[in-house]
Symmetry: C2
Amino acid sequence: MNWIDYLGLLGVVTGSLTFVPQVYKAWISKSVGDLSIWTVLILISNVAIWLVYGILKDDFAMELANSIILTLALVMLYFKLTFKK
Amino acid sequence: MNWIDYLGLLGVVTGSLTFVPQVYKAWISKSVGDLSIWTVLILISNVAIWLVYGILKDDFAMELANSIILTLALVMLYFKLTFKK
């Protein structure tokens, strides 16, 4: 691996972590009124596309990162649909 | 371009659009209390990494998509720091 590959790996790691604090905050506060459901829905479509792309390209880093983000995005959608505020 | 490339293009387009509804909602409501500042900060780091990666790999689609997402993420950070709720 050269240093550009390490930069990509850092992108995969930070990408996987991005929505962890948002899911945690929503879970603790039970408040999701300021979150846009359209952003959550487009995010789900987007990471589903990159997950399929990663599978087709046989790229494990893309498969792993997008599986994690897809899971977190689906949790946010669940919170958005269940929490009342 | 084969159809896998078109799928990647669709990923770039949906990725660029993802945070548009969130920025619009925050702008209209002036309410960002439910947004995690950590998610916004990690998102900024993440897209900055992918932008540099795209520049180093000379990948125009990555450059364009990540420039758009970085701009939207910086607007979200500005809202988060200025709106009082």
